[in-house]
């Protein structure tokens, strides 16, 4: 479904992505994990077509991004990208925004309005639905952003830190379950980023560990556990992604040993 081939990117002098290659089969839920500033959002931006890599290419459903206007348009019809800080039109109500996104993706009106109502109920936004988004809290804005991604019914969802942005526990639970069921029942491909290992085990069918712009690991959660020889995925990811963190914690409480 998604093929990333030898992608390199840098904004200035330091490379952000270095020779990134991976393949995401249809219906998989890939969680991109890595420390801050290691290129997770850049990678998602490249997949979303928000920025063109310096080298390499991205193929989605057999078509190459930016190869021709037709290919690019076809890809855009299949992909929904939710950035970590989406900008919502301040003069629209949440309901209006969802309907507008649904219309962009040609969702039939009857199903669209029904889906909007169900999403607003799912994320507990009925009270706010008919107010302009300028009055929403951060968490509510995030929920509307996620709802917009789900209303699109796009076969590929690219979600940048969907569990962040002030989402409350009920919202996290709802999103986790929705993503799981979508992948299971509707064969939707999801690529998401998260800095929190504990969430990965519950939603990911594959984990991509990004370190210093390179793909350090790309495997199923089970394979990562076996590879690390740990009991849980969380421990395996701690070893893989943040190997120095436990040591640094110990060192923090023993100031005399700090070099």
């Amino acid at each position: 479904m998604i093929q990333v081939e030898h992608v390199w990117h840098h904004y200035g002098v330091a490379p952000v992505l270095r020779d990134v290659c991976f393949h995401v089969p249809q219906g998989e839920q890939v969680c991109v994990i890595g420390p801050n500033g290691m290129g997770k959002s850049t990678l998602l931006g490249v997949l979303a077509g928000l920025l063109c890599p310096v080298e390499g290419r991205v193929k989605i459903d057999g078509r190459t991004r930016g190869a021709s206007p037709e290919d690019e348009q076809a890809i855009r019809r299949q992909v929904y990208y939710l950035p970590d800080q989406p900008w919502l039109p301040s003069l629209r109500t949440g309901r209006e925004l969802l309907v507008a996104v649904g219309q962009v993706y040609d969702i039939p009106s009857r199903r669209l309005f029904d889906h909007v109502d169900r999403l607003l109920t799912l994320f507990d936004l009925q009270q706010q639905a008919d107010k302009t988004t300028s009055g929403y809290s951060n968490g509510q804005k995030h929920k509307i952003g996620i709802s917009a991604a789900l209303i699109s019914e796009a076969p590929v969802l690219l979600l940048d830190e969907p569990f962040g942005g002030g989402l409350d526990p009920a919202g996290i639970l709802a999103l986790k379950e929705v993503l799981k069921r979508l992948a299971k029942n509707q064969d939707i491909t999801v690529v998401m980023t998260t800095p929190v290992p504990s969430l990965v085990a519950e939603v990911a069918t594959r984990v991509l560990v990004l370190r210093e712009g390179k793909v350090a690991d790309y495997a199923t959660p089970q394979a990562l556990i076996e590879q690390a020889g740990t009991a849980t995925l969380e421990e395996a990811l701690q070893q893989s992604v943040f190997p120095e963190t436990v040591e640094n914690i110990d060192r923090y409480f023993r100031p005399e040993e700090t070099p």
């Binding site: 928000l50 920025l51 008919d130 302009t132």
Partner: protein, 478 residues
């Protein structure tokens, strides 16, 4: 009297319009009366033909009145063109489409073409400013007509018959050009009187009649083009979906602008029309990545060629008028300067205004449209340090602006030096330069749609945060 009002009400543009116009006029009249009263109390004569009364307060205040009335007349012209035209009112259009109305039945909200009632209104406007004397009575008539014609031509260009719309625009440009020349000649005459110029009689005396006839012909042809165009347009009612779409988009944009003044909570209108063609309003980055976003030109290739030609033709008329006027002027008018040098200097300045600045403006607009939302994938410092000085996929955006710049400079060199001694050809050369630059702007690669979809760029997000409530992205893509 009642029958007269009933007859006149056919063109009443809106219930409130007469009231507003009356209020504006009463305010103007009150200012006028008070001013007159003050002057009278101070002992100034209220009316005199003698030039010794300086300044002529009577003249100045009556010209103020003329400005007010002309303003009202312009509004009248705008309302006459828009109020009863179904293209300007989607609800009216939909309702009318559901009725058996066909041209030439009268339109329920009144005629869109000019009629005798308009002549009565124009006469009233003219009478109101008659005290100003001279040809000032023409001012409100001209304002009303020009506004009416411009709006109607715009409707014809969007909704057809296109050829009449463009023909009308050419007519309007020609009328403006000739009218401007008449104005210049009149100004020249005043100038001569003021400076007591006593040279030989200028050859312009013979041209005035010709110019006046030309002006009237162009104006009449333009008005005829609008009237015939409107009738042909109504004959094609109901119009194609594309035509209706363009005007509905504008109406919904207006609705959205009005909504900004509404309070924070409002009832959601989920009628499809409200969202029609408003796909851009889905927040960032969806507004840019939106599969239905469309940056293709609004006008077809042929229309773009006609618009560019029209601009160049207008500039040609203006410059040609100036050249003709310079040739008509007697040498004594140039005082101590060499005639050729001062003429060339003036022409250079005018071609800078009419050709140079528009060319630079087009160049800047093109760069902004192609580069403001799409940045280089690597910042300039990164490009320098990593040796990627040239990124073909991105730098192709500079090809057309560079060609535009080269064409402009080449055109100026040709006009200024090569054709310096063939003054009659200079307006042709200058307007051809503008035409070439405008065509490059309109057709130069890459077009915005291809660039948006296939350019090797990075979509900027910083614009979004420039204004918290600006909805910058929405408007940029609309």
């Amino acid at each position: 009297m009642k029958r007269f009002w009933t007859w006149l009400r056919v063109i009443n543009p809106a219930e409130y319009a007469v009231g507003v116009a009356g209020l504006v006029f009463l305010t103007a009249a009150m200012i006028y009366a008070v001013t007159m009263g003050v002057f009278w109390a101070m002992g100034y004569p209220l009316h005199s033909d003698s030039p010794s009364i300086t300044p002529s307060y009577w003249l100045q205040t009556s010209r103020l009145l003329t400005a007010f009335v002309s303003f009202c007349a312009a509004i009248y012209g705008a309302l006459r063109a828009t109020h009863s035209h179904p293209m300007h009112n989607p609800d009216y259009y939909r309702w009318l489409s559901s009725t058996p109305w066909k041209y030439p039945l009268p339109l329920p909200l009144g005629p869109v073409t000019l009629c005798w009632q308009d002549a009565v209104c124009m006469a009233v406007f003219a009478l109101l400013v008659a005290p100003a004397g001279g040809f000032f009575w023409l001012a409100p008539v001209v304002f009303a007509l020009v506004v009416y014609i411009i709006i109607t031509l715009r409707m014809l260009i969007h909704g057809g018959p296109y050829w009449l719309g463009y023909a009308g625009l050419f007519g309007l440009a020609a009328s403006a050009s000739v009218g401007w020349r008449v104005g210049m000649i009149e100004s020249g005459r005043v100038f001569e009187q003021l400076t007591s110029y006593s040279g030989e009689a200028s050859p312009r005396t013979g041209d005035e009649l010709l110019l006046a006839v030309l002006l009237l012909t162009f104006v009449a042809l333009t008005v005829v083009a609008t009237q015939v165009g409107l009738k042909l347009q109504l004959r094609r009612f109901p119009w194609s979906a594309k035509v209706v779409e363009i005007f509905e988009r504008q109406t919904t944009a207006n609705t959205r602008a009005n909504n900004t003044r509404a309070n924070n909570t409002r009832t959601t209108n989920t009628q499809p029309r409200q969202f029609h063609r408003e796909f851009a309003a889905v927040g960032w980055p969806m507004s840019v990545l939106n599969p239905k976003a469309d940056a293709r030109p609004v006008y077809s290739a042929l229309e773009r060629i006609v618009i560019c030609s029209l601009a160049a033709f207008t500039v040609f008329l203006i410059l040609n008028g100036i050249v003709a006027m310079l040739r008509m002027m007697p040498d004594e008018m140039f005082a101590n300067m060499e005639r050729r040098r001062s003429s060339a200097g003036l022409f250079d300045m005018l071609s800078l205004y009419f050709v140079g600045f528009p060319c630079i403006g087009l160049l800047v607009v093109r760069l902004i449209k192609h580069m403001a939302p799409f940045a280089s994938p690597i910042n300039p410092w990164g490009r320098l340090r990593t040796g990627r000085w040239f990124i073909a996929g991105y730098d192709r955006v500079f090809i057309t602006p560079l060609l535009m710049l080269a064409t402009m400079l080449l055109g100026f060199v040709a006009t200024r030096h090569v054709l310096a001694f063939v003054i009659a050809l200079q307006p042709v050369s200058a307007s051809l330069t503008l035409l070439a630059v405008a065509l490059l702007y309109a057709f130069g690669p890459p077009d915005l749609e291809t660039w948006r979809l296939t350019g090797r760029h990075r979509l900027r997000s910083d614009l979004v945060y420039l204004r918290k409530r600006g909805d910058v992205r929405e408007h940029f893509w609309n």
